[in-house]
Amino acid sequence: MTMKTPLAQVRGTGPAREGAGHWRDERLSSLAVLVLFVWLLVSLWRLPGLDHASLVQWLSSPLAAAPMLLLVFTFFWHLQMGLIVVIEDYVHEEGSRMFWTAMVKFAAAGAGTLAAFSVLKIAIGGDAG
């Protein structure tokens, strides 16, 4: 005899193991990513050229580096959520699902940190020559 309510017994037992938080965050991040990518495309369009010097000079401005950092964070946050949903749909075995979910999180964290550090390096230190 359990003292749990019927709702508490089923809560968290779906394939995603949680409520609508993941779903909501995916939509929230998608708006940020869309706005920031449009900003990036328009900014690149307005540059005199896409050569190294033009890019580094542009990214060394805080007004370019800050939105770029936000884009890196929201882009990698959004893409790891999306990939995890795909894994939850197609990988049914518990162990494999945990493995691939972890791999996606590690890869997103690794690539995201690389990208963010690169933006910071250009913004703060300039290029290596």
């Binding site: 939509r27 998608s30 869309l34 990518f37 050229g49 896409l50 050569d51 190294h52 010097a53 890019l55 580094v56 990214l59 890196v72 882009f75 990698f76 893409l79 790891q80 999306g82 990939l83 795909v86 997103a108 690539a111 995201g112 690389l114 990208a115 550090f117 690169s118 933006v119 390096k121 250009i122 290029d127 290596a128 020559g129």
Partner: protein, 151 residues
């Protein structure tokens, strides 16, 4: 068994045909996975190469001819052609994937508030994302090629 031929058959799991809504649904997932892997990989490569210096950035732009401002000339060697074709295919493919995923994502916002489920409107919305993505991709590349010619 007598069946009234005016009545539809029961839904069947193996007999169905593609509709635009199904195509947009699976394309949203395929383009999303493509942008999350190839797109994010190139995005990271671009930023890391820029931070490492003009040499690394030159290697990156050499692989993706559409990023260089130098334009396309006919006297390139075979290897340059391979790189140029690779760059063009990846560039056109990724930009289409971006527009398709973005438009389909906006359509999701409409459906998330519970609107646009009527058969006709749902089909039109799905077709609009397909057409819009192709037009935006064509527009972007027309602009890139025009800039190339006038430069």
């Amino acid at each position: 068994m007598h069946r009234n031929p005016d009545r539809p058959l029961s839904p069947h799991l193996t007999i169905w045909k593609w509709g635009p809504h199904m195509l947009v649904s699976i394309l949203h997932r395929i383009t999303g996975v493509g942008l999350a892997t190839l797109g994010a990989g190139l995005f990271t490569w671009w930023l890391v190469a820029a931070a490492m210096g003009s040499g690394a950035y030159g290697t990156f732009t050499a692989w993706l001819g559409w990023l260089t401002g130098t334009g396309f000339t006919l006297d390139k060697d075979a290897w340059a052609w391979v790189k140029y074709a690779f760059g063009a295919a990846v560039g056109i493919g990724l930009s289409w994937a971006f527009f398709q995923h973005a438009l389909s994502g906006l359509r999701h916002f409409v459906m998330d508030i519970g609107a646009g489920y009527e058969l006709r409107r749902n089909k039109l919305g799905a077709l609009a994302t397909l057409l819009g993505a192709v037009l935006l991709t064509a527009g972007l590349w027309a602009w890139i090629v025009m800039g190339r010619i006038s430069a």
